[in-house]
Symmetry: C2
Subunit: 236 residues, 2 copies
Amino acid sequence: MNLILLFEKDFINGTHEVRIDDRRLKHMLYVHRVQVGDKLKVGLLNGKMGSGNVIYKSKSELMMKVRLTEDPPPPIPVTLLLALPRPKMLKRILFAISSMGVKKLYLFNSYRVEKSFWQAPILDPGKMEKYLTPGLEQAKDTVLPQVELRKQFKPFFEDEVPEIMKNSLPLIADPGAEDACPYDMNQQVTLAMGPEGGFIPYETDKIIATGFKPVHLGKRILRVENAVVAGLSRLF
Amino acid sequence: MNLILLFEKDFINGTHEVRIDDRRLKHMLYVHRVQVGDKLKVGLLNGKMGSGNVIYKSKSELMMKVRLTEDPPPPIPVTLLLALPRPKMLKRILFAISSMGVKKLYLFNSYRVEKSFWQAPILDPGKMEKYLTPGLEQAKDTVLPQVELRKQFKPFFEDEVPEIMKNSLPLIADPGAEDACPYDMNQQVTLAMGPEGGFIPYETDKIIATGFKPVHLGKRILRVENAVVAGLSRLF
């Protein structure tokens, strides 16, 4: 937790003071070992960042006087289209993409996505924030990534993706591609990645027909959670 | 499991046939759903790769006739020096670095490494293979990474690292560095990375004094397991 993420509900009505009594308190007490007078890096969810001055602490709550003056870091210019991973892996991916500055993620269905993955509790409204906000706290950012679910492959790629990918370089990660994923891009990218076991040929063909260029991430096939980080790190 | 990793003990004496009856069997039966006559990608630990023809299968064992003709993919030219991470994270890092082609990893002590991490069962001799071999199976490789433990920071960096880093570009990942980590290197790199919370200034100074150049991986501070993948992916 390199930044303490604050929520509107933390603020004591009409003041610049916040009261914290949840998992963040534990972290501040037992990891940061904060004392009254300490200054901490803080940020308001989807808002500005700044510092919080600890004015009171006990075992059950902590109060800070907050000044929010800085903008959060710019997002990385990518829209990520990812075949829905298994829930355990999705949790780690949400943390990773949030910490890396992705702000828009589409999770879509694909032939090799197990049907049960769509029933996972993590997909319930509001549940993903639990895994996205720690990524922001890790990376000193405040802007929550937006995650959209698309349960049908074909209508998603036929009707929606052409609009999503406009004015961007559309790339599909494909271990069999001839060209390597480019490095250090200074432009908007739409990056599509398949499930464990990969896309089936129909899907790869469809995505390429939509305009995506196949690129590989090296000679080795990576697990999805590593491929996501590896791809983003090369591109930006 | 994109490759079935074979061990000398799998071979039926003096033949090219192997018998498999452990977790690999389960994977072949219930994920690959193999049938007699199927040809699978196989590789001998620290040896050649090739194909295995399934000649018998039951619920308790499977036999293949094996031909090993290809060399494994080349390693990536890196030696990784990593402050010992917490055991749960270490497991994922071992998988990741193994799948990415790292062949030499030093795990060393640092001020912010919790003492208890050095007691973790995963550090017992032979235990790490359990997490390294699945990385090889993921990436279609056979060469097991070597992992060395160094429990003392100072003698490691003073006495050993100068020899380890010879003829390589020595880089230390440092979120506060002015220069970005380079992309797409065609040379040997020695990459040093700190623990959660980072190196303390004494350590950073020591490592830089040894000849390492500080580089950052972007504006955001990544969790160690993501930073390792991000760094390797940019460099190679």
